[in-house]
Amino acid sequence: MTEDVLLRLTDVVKHFPIRRGVFFRKEVARVHAVDGVSLDVRRGETLGLVGETGCGKSTLARCITGLHPVTSGEIRFDGEPVDGLDRARTLAFRRQVQMVFQDPYGSLNPRRRVGSIIGDPFVIHGIADGPERRRRVQELMELVGLNPEHYNRFPAEFSGGQRQRIGVARAIALRPKLIVCDEPVAALDVSIQAQIINLLQDLQAELGLTYVFIAHDLSVVRHVSDRVAVMYLGKVAECGATERLYDTPRHPYTNALLSAATVADPDVSARRERLVLAGDVPSPVRPPSGCRFHPRCPKADETCVAQEPPLEPKFGDAAEHTAACHHPVADDEVLVGSGDAAKEVPRWR
């Protein structure tokens, strides 16, 4: 069981200090972007990561890929700790873990030709040069569905979907084991989203990739993920196999999130119950005490204010379906139609 865990996060914390002052830059506060996340990602699976804007999804992604050093906690990739590697080992790690970015416009350097953008990994890692590099880049372009003859074009000459394909080609160039997709389709049209998701799934099957797939579109996550983790204010609220989590959400937040998801079928949509949350997400600079969800939770009481709930299975669920809640949602409390949420939408092909 343990050896098929590719990535293990143990109590990962990432705080960003807020500094003031010209010379001494005194720390006046910190943003609790990620605050104690423990997750396992198994080899070959897709772990969906959902949550509202600002809940720490992207920060967690950047911690996994080593772009942000973690404040505390441990990230183990393939059994090896990721922190404090020397230059050579860092390069080796970079080959294994790659990232696909959200913004297909911002993630490609506008001043460089597509060929050299996709060829960058080969240059940086000293793998291929000259005509060999060109051959490999064109292979990659073909693999992700781009015309290899567009090798010398600039990013501005491609559409959003094509640009995202360029980003994917760059990410798979080094044949990584894990790809962290940070909202890879959020910036694209729906029809293009389907193409990119199909591409990612085809590549997963072909190259045996493992994905951490971040999104805030619940239907997309449902379609691609084997397991889903729901994040709220830097913490995992609930985690479990996709179908279980969508059918029997245990955390009130998950329940509310699912009830807010769009349903394509108007009949289903009409008989659904909605749970509309009051207020905004609290500031991650001063997260609430106890359960972070308590200021907005319909079921909150004094226990929730005082004590932080552990992440554990509820109501005899399977051991891997865990929720962090003092008052989990029982089967009969699940909102009508919430299991249908996001079900009809993904008719991808």
């Binding site: 080593g66 959200q102 990994p121 890692h125 600039f154």
Partner: protein
């Protein structure tokens, strides 16, 4: 025949027109900038050919023609067939001296700006990219340089080391790198946060590679614009120093020192002022217009540095017709 034609067209469309080519095509359509560029080329050619022209006239730059070149009262002689721009009070040919002065001005202007740009880009990028303490120290250094009374300091430096060409270049570069560094730092700060820099980091690119391969090409446009505007400033600065006797040492002709000599004769010999003054004006004007055009070409959406009426009208037309973003 038809085959090769289609292939040629395909090849062109696939090649892709880069940002530099687009900028060049925009610049080529800007008639004012093009005219300025032509003027600059002519000045450069004349400066390079100064010894040939001096030979052709048979007048050396420091050669004195006491007999033909001055009146019986020892005053300068006006423009004539022999001396096209007239002579100075020592009977030297002003045309030849102005052309030799162009050599000095262009050399100082370009060399000082080049030094300042290299220093400014390296310092500014280092400050902007690494941030934190490095940024604090370098930014304060820029503030200090920018707040120095440059003329006073130049005076002190010249008093200590004695006036010379390298010192002039050094002084000008020393007082201009900071303004470039500031711009570069700001640009780097915003470029650093872009996702393509993160992408490069996640691929394992080194800091140096990110700075020079990923960030530099994106900030080079404002640097080029600033440099073209700094060249005329450096030329004027050199003239100021020479005017005050702090720049180029006298036997070598320089526009600034010629102007300062001409001051005493402005009532009797207008040409004495016009020759170096006109050359200075023409050169700086040409560089400034070219800089303006380069700016338009590289960054067509930005506000103009020297918004002329022509540009403003063009811009309002563009806005009304709904073109441009």
């Amino acid at each position: 025949m038809a085959m090769t034609e289609t292939r040629a067209i395909e090849g062109r469309s696939i090649e892709g027109r880069g940002p530099w080519r687009l900028a060049w095509e925009r610049l080529r359509r800007d008639r004012v900038a093009l005219g300025a560029a032509v003027v600059i080329v002519v000045i450069v050619v004349l400066a390079l050919a100064a010894p040939l022209i001096a030979d052709w006239f048979g007048h050396g730059p420091a050669q004195q023609f006491r007999k033909e070149g001055t009146t019986e009262f020892g005053l300068p002689v006006g423009p004539s067939g022999e001396f096209w721009f007239g002579t100075d009070n020592l009977g030297r040919d002003l045309l030849v001296r102005t052309l030799y002065g162009a050599r000095v001005s262009l050399l100082v202007g370009v060399a000082a700006t080049l030094c300042a740009t290299v220093i400014g880009v390296v310092v500014g990028m280092t400050a902007g990219y690494f941030g934190g303490k490095v940024d604090s120290v370098l930014s304060r250094a820029m503030d200090v340089v920018l707040s120095m009374p440059y003329l006073l300091l130049a005076l002190v430096l010249v008093a200590v080391f004695g006036p010379s060409l390298p010192l002039t270049i050094f002084v000008i570069a020393f007082f201009t790198w900071a303004s470039i560094a500031r711009v570069v730092r700001g640009q780097t700060l915003s470029a650093r946060e872009r996702e393509y820099v993160e992408a490069a980091r996640s691929l394992g690119a080194s800091d140096r590679r990110i700075m020079f391969v990923d960030i530099l090409p994106n900030i080079v446009a404002p640097v080029i614009v600033l440099a073209t505007v700094l060249i005329p400033l450096a030329i004027v600065f050199e003239s100021v120093l020479s005017f005050l006797g702090l720049g180029i040492v006298p036997p070598t002709p320089s526009w600034g020192s010629m102007l300062s000599e001409a001051i005493a004769f402005y009532r009797v010999a207008w040409w004495y002022l016009i020759a170096p003054g006109g050359a200075l004006l023409l050169t700086t004007l040409a560089f400034n217009l070219l800089g303006d055009g380069v700016r338009d070409a590289l960054d067509p959406r930005a506000e103009r540095l020297f918004a002329t009426r022509r540009n403003r009208r063009r811009r309002s037309l563009r806005r009304r017709s709904g073109g441009g973003r």
